[in-house]
Symmetry: C2
Subunit: 428 residues, 2 copies
């Protein structure tokens, strides 16, 4: 039995979630307002969201894009734990709340304190001591999708900044700076691929940022949006930007840029890549033996993408007054069929097309609900599936399909061949 | 680009994990000893394990089986949050540590206490208030794969009992007892399918157990193993069992069983299903309007499977003195090719077969490491892929493949046609 084929398409009457006219009054961010109204997510408490079936589908599609791009540059997937031992984090001086101010901490029955991972350099570096011993064992690129916990003081940005959220974090382990730099450059391309496939490539700038205590600079991927908490200065032509925190004449000169060519904008950081040097490998004693048998600390890097943040950024960037607009590759379904009646020739034609498209591997949401036309179209706009086909008595009589492209904002009457050609061209 | 096809098969030289001759001395359970030695998991602290690439592959395969079986009975997947609000759990009197003794609790910056979900009846019941209003909205079957946190006093059973572990939990919402019972019976079949596909069907008994404070009985799925913490009395012929906690003449009579037909055994609970009645819907006010417009509390059930526990149980049940033995459908790879040399005709033949099998969709692990034969065979037995093909100079000269079935414990010389037929028959 091919179980999977049975669930890629769905009937709207079967999905338990309901759309809402209004978001909860305490929800101020556009991304969470729209996602809650459309039934993709639900707020549990400030900064903590559940993902409903439609929302989980989008999350999984973003995860799939990231996974494919990480595998393409040699990433090996694993999954670390959330619970963290105090002793491990004391070695790098990151246990103390005065040093890291967003820990969630808890206690074992025996009284031992435990933390909930806000990042995972320490446990992965420690784990690698069992697997990296010689220069022959390097390089290693390991990543995971895992829940991070961050005790944010304020949580008003919807799923752009959660207290608990899924993150892809990759860590690189290299022999030397040269090997590290080669991977670091590859990771930039992989990240660009991710944001292009997620539909926000044009709005996203690779951005010079502070390296923190680790290195001179890091690179952020900043997506322009009024919802962003960061200020960047970007150059559209060159596709690069500088974070306000390092926006100095010195940095501009290094990048070959002039102040007069830069535009100020608000942006959200949808990804970041960091050179870590030996900041973690030295205190955690991750050394390898080189060709001469000498112990050398491993050179590390870290590479993060918050999955819900990316999902929320897509909604912020592309959503309009009527609702969400999903780019093709992250849309919960490729096609939304809206049946104007629940009986007779209309529902028959809708069911037939639903089956035809599903059989050739296209994911369809079929609105087979007994509801008014206005409610159906309103919900379709809100849910934001990019291609919509309306089936009513008039279009059946004409032998045509009323076709609506949510991204291109156009409506056309297609015959069957035109319809299939269009869908084929716009489906992934 | 078909990214996925690129990662289903792997070269052993590329996997960063190493096997070990010995498990850590504080690791006393067979499942975690073997899984650590084979490089599937790593212990972070007592009861907390990370899943390395091979281990994550197995976890994902078990997850896929469960997902398919839950979808087949109408389950809709979502993902709730780990962080839990105190006020919600006070409504059902499950916040107090005197009532629930395995909470992990933590604190927000503003001083508010939060819990880490050990189960999810409360948040899901509360969430459903926004989606279930009328009899037309029922039934609903919603499930998730999510990390549970349980503050266990002792954690000595490897991945059979973790302080943090992935769980599939499904919750059913029904109009009345009749609708509930129908789904409850369906869930039994789905659970049997899961354990059959996971390779432990023959050792797993549907077991009458206490209903706790919710109902008279619940049903556990208990797998016989000396590593189990439960005592059951089972009847092999009828495939049923009774947990010691309810092993009374009354229960036996209800089941049509006699004490003389029952055998005592130790077992691990690999799954459970519970009728909850209105225990949660009443205090959390999940009501629906029936045909007469009257408010009726929703009838609920809960259905759990711990994913790492199932993985560990497979290792306990099937592992032998040489290592793990994976059943076909949960094995990290379908076929293990062991190349006896890293150069010349041997590695060429191995690479050729690796490509041929991969191209027809079979997942292969190729041992292309520069290592001694004894080490290669020892590691292959330890890792436990069910089908092994050894390629050396002798077998090439004879035009044969040395074939080893880890489950059937037999070695044969196959020609190419025999080999492909055997693999085709034993692959999923």
């Amino acid at each position: 039995m091919d179980y999977h084929a049975r669930i890629t398409s769905m009937r709207q009457s079967q999905i338990f979630t309901k759309t809402r006219r209004e978001a909860p009054s305490d929800e101020v961010a556009k991304n969470s307002q729209l996602l809650i109204r459309a039934g993709f997510i639900q707020k549990m408490t400030a900064g903590v969201y559940s993902f409903l079936p439609l929302g989980l589908k989008v999350l999984n599609k973003i995860e799939k894009i990231i996974r494919e791009e990480m595998n393409a540059i040699g990433g090996q997937e694993l999954r670390l734990a959330a619970l963290q031992e105090k002793a491990l984090w004391e070695k790098t001086n990151r246990w103390d709340d005065a040093v890291v101010d967003n820990w969630f901490k808890t206690t074992l029955k025996n009284g031992n304190e435990m933390g909930l991972g806000f990042t995972h350099e320490e446990p992965l570096t420690s784990l690698m001591r069992d697997h990296i011993r010689s220069f022959r064992d390097l390089p290693v690129y390991a990543y995971q999708f895992q829940t991070k916990f961050r005790n944010e003081t304020r949580a008003k940005s919807g799923i752009l900044r959660g207290r608990e959220f899924l993150m892809k974090d990759l860590y690189s382990f290299s022999r030397d700076e040269k090997e590290h730099d080669e991977f670091y450059e590859k990771s930039k391309i992989a990240y660009k691929n991710v944001f292009n496939r997620a539909g926000i490539g044009e709005k996203t700038y690779i951005t010079f940022a502070s390296g923190g205590s680790f290195s001179k600079y890091s690179h952020e991927f900043q997506m322009l949006t009024e919802a962003g908490e960061d200020i960047i200065y970007y150059n559209k032509e060159k596709g690069v930007a500088v974070n306000k925190e390092v926006y100095t004449d010195e940095v501009l000169a290094e990048m070959g840029l002039k102040k007069s060519d830069m535009t100020e904008g608000k942006a959200v950081e949808v990804g970041n890549i960091f050179s870590l040097g030996t900041k973690f490998s030295e205190p955690l004693e991750l050394f390898y033996k080189n060709e001469e048998g000498k112990n050398i600390p491993v050179i590390m890097g870290s590479y993060g993408i918050g999955v819900p943040r990316l999902m929320g950024s897509i909604v912020e960037a592309l959503g309009d007054d009527n609702g969400i607009v999903w780019p093709t590759e992250v849309s919960p379904f490729a096609v939304h069929i809206v049946a104007m009646k629940t009986e007779g020739a209309v529902i028959e034609a809708a069911e037939k097309l639903y089956k035809e498209l599903t059989d050739i591997g296209i994911e369809v949401l079929l609105d087979d609900r007994d509801a008014r036309a206005g409610e159906k179209f309103g919900d379709a706009d809100l849910i934001g599936i990019p291609l919509r086909i309306t089936i009513g008595e008039k279009s059946i009589a004409e032998g045509k399909y009323e076709f609506n492209d949510r991204i291109a904002q156009k409506t056309e009457l297609f015959d069957k061949d035109q319809l299939m050609a269009y869908i084929g061209k716009h489906n992934v």
